[in-house]
């Protein structure tokens, strides 16, 4: 069966005037098809040439040709379409029933010629949109005066304006491309910088590691010289310090969790509050009713415990620095060292001798330990001296610096290969946001980032999607006089996915369809389906590099 819908509606702007325009043509015939109607005595159906008719049967308001070609100027063959119900008697299936003509041809002298569907012919409506000469209404049901002069003039003006706009837009696009190129260079530079930084970091890490080994060795030596009691006190102090720090970190973490939990509770209470006032009792849903009742009881009990801020204060005290409580760990740690030094003979020696002695002690110590004569000093973190810890901390910080640089590098490298559209043009717009108010919301599009719905009356923003990809879509829309419309043809579109999930629906997503325009603007936001949005927007970035396809300006000229 016939399943393919043929839209017999098309602009005729590409029709060349090189066709013999001076041939006399029956009403509704374009120059392109004039050749079929030359014969003054007979006519052969265009797709069914075996059927020949008398010339008088052309435009006599009766459909003789199964392809409709004998009625180019009436609606008699308007049913010849895959969209009409099939009918044996009026479209014999053994013949070619495809419509031979693209539509009724309006000459529109003074403006652009155009085809309109045969269904529009003699229906009592002046279809000035595409048939400014009023030739679609020849039966006299309604009188349609020729408005081509006026419409044509207006159109020309608008076209000129559009061309100007287009030129501005093109220039802006070139600027954007230049900016994008610069930004790209910057990224490349950054990458090269980061690469050397990472290399430098690696060297630093190596040094720090060596340093740590050195220090550890030295500290092992020191451990022998340290008096037993002082060493134990030192261990105790560092243990206590560590423990205190752990506790403080724990409390801090708890406080953060508490804050986040409170935020969530507040948010949930907000949701329930709204739920209670907005739920639809129509649906008499027992589950919903129960939930509302439970919420009311919960609310009656009081939402926030009264002593809450007391606990908060206590915790804040707890996490204050120890010095606030008159405790200075360093005092104890360094004092420990001072006491030790009293017992050290070496401290009374001149420095050179001291070093020599120390080295000897150490060697002996290592020798004894190595041979199992002396026990090895407990050397794990808790018992580590300040010196080892400092060295280790230094190593860690150098490492994390390296990691930071490395991840920056990876990010920048992937950014460099990311699809920013033709000529990398959207790189220049990344993060730039455009707003439009529509209904009770303001919609925001942040290029290459996200789309957001913001209630004008206040309340939480809703994420309508995060940037996912660039694609191309075919549109076929009308175009308003101000040029702020999609027009027809292929358009670039930015897809934003995985926004906030809808109740009883999918996660929100947005397709931002862009057409060439002099500034970044969002013209229209429509919810095409539940939680699937479409933004129609203008942007210089959407202009094509070659400048030939001025998106909305071309009104689909080159697509057809």
């Amino acid at each position: 069966m016939r399943t393919k819908a043929v839209i017999t509606f098309a602009f005729a702007s590409t029709l060349s005037t090189s066709f013999a325009a001076d041939l006399p043509r029956p009403r509704g015939v374009s120059p392109e098809y004039a050749k079929y109607y030359k014969d003054a005595s007979s006519f052969a159906c265009i797709f069914n040439p075996s059927i020949t008719l008398e010339a008088s049967q052309i435009n006599d308001d009766f459909c003789d040709c199964p392809d409709g070609s004998d009625e180019p100027g009436t609606s008699a063959c308007s049913h010849i379409s895959a969209l009409s119900p099939p009918s044996a008697a009026i479209s014999d299936s053994t013949l070619n029933n495809t419509a031979a003509l693209p539509g009724f041809y309006c000459k529109n002298k003074g403006h652009r010629p155009a085809y309109i569907p045969f269904t529009y012919v003699n229906d009592g409506i002046c279809d000035y949109d595409n048939c400014c000469d009023g030739s679609d209404e020849s039966e006299g049901i309604v009188k349609c005066e020729d408005k081509c002069k006026e419409i044509g003039t207006m159109w020309k003006k608008a076209e000129e304006q559009k061309q100007k706009t287009l030129n501005v837009a093109m220039q802006k696009r070139r600027d954007l491309v230049a900016t994008a190129a610069r930004l790209k260079l910057e990224v490349e530079e950054k990458i090269s910088n980061l690469k050397s930084m990472v290399q430098a970091d690696e060297i630093k890490i190596q040094e720090a590691e060596n340093n740590l080994v050195e220090t550890e060795k030295r500290e092992k030596l020191r451990a022998i010289t340290a008096p037993k009691t002082g060493g134990r006190l030192g261990v105790l102090v560092s243990l206590a310090k560590k423990r205190t720090e752990d506790l403080r970190a724990g409390v801090l973490k708890l406080m953060q969790e508490k804050a986040s939990a409170e935020f969530r509770v507040k948010e949930l209470e907000g949701i329930l509050e709204a739920f209670k006032t907005e739920y639809n009792p129509n649906f008499n849903d027992e589950g919903v009713k129960r939930a509302v009742r439970a919420w009311e009881e919960y609310e009656a009990r009081g939402r926030h415990p009264a002593d809450d801020h007391v606990a908060q204060k206590e915790m804040e005290d707890l996490v204050q620095d120890d010095s606030e409580h008159g405790l200075t760990w360093d005092d104890y740690e360094t004092a420990d060292r001072d006491t030790d030094s009293l017992y050290l003979i070496e401290s009374y020696l001149p420095p050179s001798a001291r070093d020599w002695l120390r080295q000897k002690y150490a060697d002996v110590r290592v020798f004894l330990v190595d041979n199992g004569i002396l026990p090895a000093v407990d050397n794990d973190a808790a018992g580590e001296s300040k010196a080892v810890q400092d060295t280790r901390t230094h190593l860690d910080s150098v490492k994390s610096e390296r990691d930071g640089h490395q991840s920056d590098l990876t990010n920048n490298e992937s950014d460099l290969t990311k699809n920013y559209g033709p000529d990398d043009v959207f790189r220049a717009l990344k993060g730039e946001c455009v707003n439009v108010e529509s209904g009770e919301y303001t919609y925001e599009h942040c290029f290459m980032d996200k789309t957001t719905q913001k209630p004008n009356k206040g309340g939480m923003d809703t994420a309508m999607g995060y940037f996912d990809r660039i694609e191309f879509v075919n549109v076929d829309e009308g175009e308003p006089a101000d040029g702020k419309g999609l027009g027809s043809g292929e358009r670039i579109a930015l897809r934003y996915e995985n926004g906030a999930t809808c109740w009883n629906g999918p996660a929100r997503s947005t397709t931002v369809i862009l057409v060439c325009y002099e500034i970044n603007e969002v013209w229209k936001v429509v919810e095409e389906e539940k939680c699937i949005y479409r933004m129609e927007a203008g942007s210089p970035a959407a202009c094509t590099p070659e400048g030939s396809r001025g998106a909305s300006q071309a009104a689909g000229k080159d697509e057809l």
Binding site: M1, R2, T3, K4, A5, I7, T8, F9, D61, F62, D64, S75, A76, S78, H79, S81, A82, L83, S84, P85, P86, S87, A88, A89, I90, D92, P117, T119, N122, D123, G124, I125, I141, P281, N282, F283, N284, D285, E286, S438, G439, E440, R469, E471, F472, V473, N474, V475, G478, E490, A493, N504, G505, P506, K524, V526, E527, E528, E529, K530
Partner: protein
């Protein structure tokens, strides 16, 4: 919109993901049974069923109602008397009875209660309610003559204890009244057709004072409860637990008037099938309701209610009520109309007496016994004795009125959605229909267009410029329908509610304060259209100046008028609420919705009269309805689901509306809740093209589904279905004319067209379009490639599109791949249509006609064409064309149906004189026409010859001939001689 690049990974998988998600999260659609009463939970229903049970259990049962012969009076076709109900040895309740025999041949039986009638009762709770039984149903439902027949007469020499009255055409009808116990048998040609109180279940719960509370009742101890209850029943012989108060779902009905139900058993001897009493999602042939295989356990309920996600194959109540039932057998059709606006239940059982094997020629004899009970009001029953289905529906139409003649756009295609979100959205949808060359006439706005659910306002953010929107629609003669519901938002600075309160035009609560309940806007009041002043006020609200942003192409949708009250008992109003003149809501519950849409009709009419030169016919869609609703509104079957089963269920529901006198009916195409698959949507459009009311609609949580959304091949196939509807609009409009004049159904079930065909009595999945011979059977199963269609006779039928021939009584298989609409043409008919494709119905008005003549073996065919200006009331003054076409003996002729003309005829005929017949198609012509190249055409006494082509049928397809442009004028007489 199509996407290129990355298409495979994005746009194709997204819908799959969405579909999967939808599957996971979509709620299970299920009616909330607990929100609606079963018979057991409805006091009077339970009491009357118990009454029936104890009566049938008791072999010696005798009805305690007797007509006091001494009170009988008869004059002017009316018999009056008093029925005495014995309630105790020394106590009789006086029940005045009137049996009227109307000029029209219908009979009416009305039973009242003297004490209540005279107001000699006391109400509890200081109630302000009226004391009488509600006696104004007829004021709302009846428009026809109730004049008694002069010719009806009491027969002499009737058997003792009976009174016999002859009445009806040629006095063929007979009412036999038995005095003790009171009973009535209606006979036609001496044969009993309808019997009242045959089983002795007549019950009028009389007024009695409430006995002082028995202490035991209040101090029930655990374990004793059952005993006490038992005892209570035993003493009085009745279950009195629901006499004085009833609670359901946390709402208590104070019942200030006590028990007051009316009940009657009505039997149809010799009838095996009954139809009617919509609205139920059930088969058209009504099922038995007292259990057993394939039967229901609950009576059919009539109580207008907003039943959310209703279930199928159920006697549960729905949005509207028409207590009109037909009983049918192969040689007789009769009807009863139970005029009562209160909650009503109907039990149905059938009993078959086996044929006596010794008696030759005797057959099984089935009697259908029905049992009707209403909560309050008069007992008021009309009886129609047929004998044909058309006779019965005509009688009903004479009483309650017929379908309003709709504007032409109203029977074309309507595009609705909850909601088109902005005025720009409306324009965009409109443009897309044009872009895809899909015809449509009306676009609809659901509740979201309002400013905070305040009717008569526009949302200032989303509908900034309604004027520009309706003007845009008007360019192609398209219309807008906006929703206006009966609940008025109770809020500050809303002039409508201020006026409602100030003028005191709202429904009151039991304490006589303005009733407040919840609906879409939150706290709301309900307009009381039983009050004539409320209607006057309502009229003022629709003026263009009052409802700013509307114009002559704006019409109204009345929803939620059951009334739906979100926090009320059974999602409706408390029954002890008070209406105008203090009638209790319980008395008028089922009528309320009709009074509301009637008011809207009046308002649109008044608007048109005030604002337009030539007033146009209003269009109102309603969800709730009652007998008489057909006079002012179309209905739809409410909130159905996007499921195949609901597509299937729409057929019997729409057919049932037709035979119950409210034929302008349809179901939401696509299904309201949920997302239909593209296949289901496509099949639904094919089916919807044969609903009298054809509207696509969708819930706010569903995806967009306008026909152009689905893409090919679906969009093209749906467009074909829509264009088929548009091409057949001349036939549909003619059918509406017939419905308007005679009350006949527009789409008709098999039994209505072939009353004698017992095999087709239960058939409710295929339909005939009026009298056109078009027989349609929708595909209602997924992935189906064929349907079996049932032919009731041996007349040949031809496929509408291919002329494939089907012949022979019984089932035939029609190949039906997705693009195929199973539609046959029955031989003997002439179908008018307009084949040119247009954007809207109004743009077809100047197009020529095609006539399709379908011939059978007798070589005869006939058909009709009616049209008028499609808008105004000028047709009432004769400004219409009504032609009959007949074909016999090789000649087709066109003649005026009514040679007598009204004063508006000439002018109108002149204005349409150019309309012509452009083509005559003859299906199954005589074989010898193959040699005929020209036929003779005569008009205005002039003869000419025009070409005819002939195509010989092959492989089971009929031949056909096409007359090329005879150019005969529709408004004139003409003839075509073929051979």
């Amino acid at each position: 919109m199509q996407s290129r690049q990355q298409l495979p990974s994005s746009w194709t998988t997204l819908p799959v993901i969405l579909a999967t998600l939808a599957l996971l999260v979509s709620p299970v659609f299920m009616v909330k049974h607990e929100n609606f009463k079963t018979c057991d939970q409805s006091g009077f229903c339970k009491r009357n069923r118990q009454f029936a049970d104890s009566a049938s259990a008791d072999k010696s049962w005798s009805s305690p109602y007797a007509l006091d012969a001494s009170t009988i009076k008869f004059s002017k076709g009316q018999l009056e008397g008093t029925i005495l109900k014995s309630v105790a040895a020394d106590e009789q309740i006086r029940l005045p009875v009137v049996v009227s025999f109307l000029e029209t041949g219908s009979a009416r039986v009305t039973i009242d209660e003297e004490k209540r009638q005279k107001g000699e009762i006391e109400l509890r709770h200081n109630s302000k309610a009226r004391k009488e039984r509600y006696n104004e149903s007829e004021k709302h439902a009846i428009v026809g003559s109730l004049k008694g027949s002069k010719d009806a007469k009491v027969a002499d020499g009737a058997e003792k204890g009976t009174t016999v009255i002859y009445y009806g055409p040629d006095e063929k009808f007979q009412a036999v009244i038995t005095h003790k116990p009171f009973g009535l048998t209606f006979k036609r040609d001496g044969k009993a057709q309808v019997q009242f109180n045959e089983r002795g279940l007549l019950n009028v719960e009389h007024w009695r004072p409430k006995p002082p509370d028995v202490p035991a009742e209040e101090e029930k101890k655990e374990g004793e409860e059952a005993k006490v209850e038992e005892k209570k029943v035993e003493e009085s012989g009745e279950d009195t637990s629901t006499w004085w108060e009833e609670s359901f779902g946390g709402n208590t009905d104070t019942k200030p008037r006590g028990p007051e139900s009316v009940a009657l058993d009505i039997s149809f001897p010799g009838f095996s099938v009954v139809y009617g009493i919509p609205e139920h999602a059930s088969s058209m042939a009504l099922k038995q309701t007292r259990g057993g295989d394939g039967n229901y356990n609950e009576p059919y309920r009539l109580f207008n209610a907003d039943v959310f996600e209703y279930e199928l194959d159920s006697p549960m109540t729905l949005y509207g009520s028409i207590p009109f039932m037909q009983a049918h057998s192969k040689d007789s059709t009769v009807g009863v109309f139970w005029l009562n606006g209160a909650e009503t239940w109907v039990d149905i059982v059938k009993s078959t007496s086996k044929a006596n094997p010794l008696s030759l020629g005797s057959k099984d004899f089935t009697t259908t016994q029905t049992h009707w009970f209403s909560e309050s009001g008069l007992m008021d029953v009309f009886v129609f004795l047929g004998p044909t289905p058309s006779d019965v529906i005509k009688s009903y139409g004479e009483l309650t009125g017929t379908t309003a003649m709709p504007q032409e756009f109203a029977i074309a295609y309507h595009q609705c959605r909850w909601n088109y979100v902005t005025d720009q959205d409306v324009k965009d949808v409109d443009k897309r229909f044009d872009k895809f060359n899909i015809p449509y006439d009306v676009i609809w706005l659901d509740i979201e267009y309002t400013d905070g659910k305040k009717y008569f306002t526009w949302d200032p953010l989303t509908f900034k410029n309604p004027d520009s929107m309706i003007k845009h629609l008007d360019k192609r003669s398209r219309k807008l329908v906006t929703i206006i519901d009966p609940h008025i938002k109770n809020t500050d600075s809303y002039p409508v509610v201020d006026a409602l309160k100030k003028k005191d035009l709202a429904v009151h609560d039991k304490d006589n304060n303005i009733y407040e309940g919840w609906c879409w806007p939150g706290s709301s009041h309900w307009i009381d259209c039983l009050n004539p002043a409320a209607i006057e006020w309502w009229k003022s609200l629709f003026k263009y100046k009052a409802f700013v942003g509307t114009g002559s192409n704006v019409f109204i949708w009345n929803d939620m008028n059951e009334p739906s009250v979100f926090n009320g008992p059974e999602t409706s109003m408390p029954r002890d609420n008070l209406h105008f003149q203090n009638w209790e809501h319980r008395d008028v519950h089922n009528i309320y919705g009709m009074t509301y849409h009637n008011a809207t009709y009046q308002a649109l009419l008044a608007r048109s009269k005030a604002e337009e030169k030539s007033p146009r016919r209003p269009f109102v869609l309603t969800r709730a309805f009652f007998p008489g609703s057909q006079r002012t509104a179309a209905m739809w079957t409410g909130d159905n689901l996007a499921e195949w089963s609901h597509l299937a269920a729409s057929l019997p529901m729409v057919l049932n509306q037709g035979i119950a006198g409210m034929p302008f009916a349809g179901a939401d195409v696509g299904g309201f809740f949920g997302n239909p698959s593209k296949e289901l949507l496509t099949r639904w459009y094919q089916a919807g093209a044969f609903y009298p009311f054809f509207r696509g609609h969708a819930h706010i949580d569903t995806r967009r589904r306008e026909p152009y959304v689905a893409g090919e091949p679906y969009t093209g196939i749906m467009t074909q279905a829509l264009r088929l509807r548009y091409s057949l609009l001349p036939a549909w409009y003619t059918a509406f004319r017939e419905a308007h004049v005679y009350g006949t159904p527009i789409v008709r079930p098999n039994w209505f067209v072939h009353p004698e065909d017992e095999g087709g009595f239960a058939l409710d999945d295929q339909l005939y379009l009026a009298d056109t011979g078009l027989l349609f059977k929708p595909v209602v199963a997924e992935a189906a490639n064929s349907v079996d269609i049932y032919l009731a006779d041996d007349t040949p039928y031809f496929d509408y599109f291919t002329y494939k021939t089907y012949k022979g009584k019984g089932s035939h298989t029609i190949e039906a791949p997705l693009e195929k609409i199973p539609l046959l043409m029955r031989a003997g008919h002439i179908v008018p249509r307009r084949d040119r494709a247009r954007r809207s119905s109004a743009l077809m008005r100047n197009d020529p006609y095609t006539l399709v003549i379908v011939l059978g073996s007798d070589g005869k065919a006939a058909g009709e064409l009616y049209f008028d200006d499609g808008e105004s009331f000028d047709y009432e003054a004769g400004a219409y064309i009504h032609r009959t076409f007949s074909y016999a003996d090789g000649k087709l002729s066109s003649a005026d149906k009514y040679p007598e003309k009204g004063k508006g005829f000439d002018k109108y005929a002149k204005s349409v004189s150019k309309l012509r017949v452009e083509r005559v198609v003859v299906v199954n012509p005589p074989a010898e026409w193959e040699k005929v190249a020209k036929v003779s055409v005569t008009q205005d006494g002039k003869e000419k010859y025009v070409k005819m082509s002939f195509v010989k049928g092959e492989s089971g397809h009929a031949s056909y001939a096409v007359v090329r442009d005879p150019k005969v004028q529709i408004v004139k007489d003409w003839g075509i001689v073929f051979a």
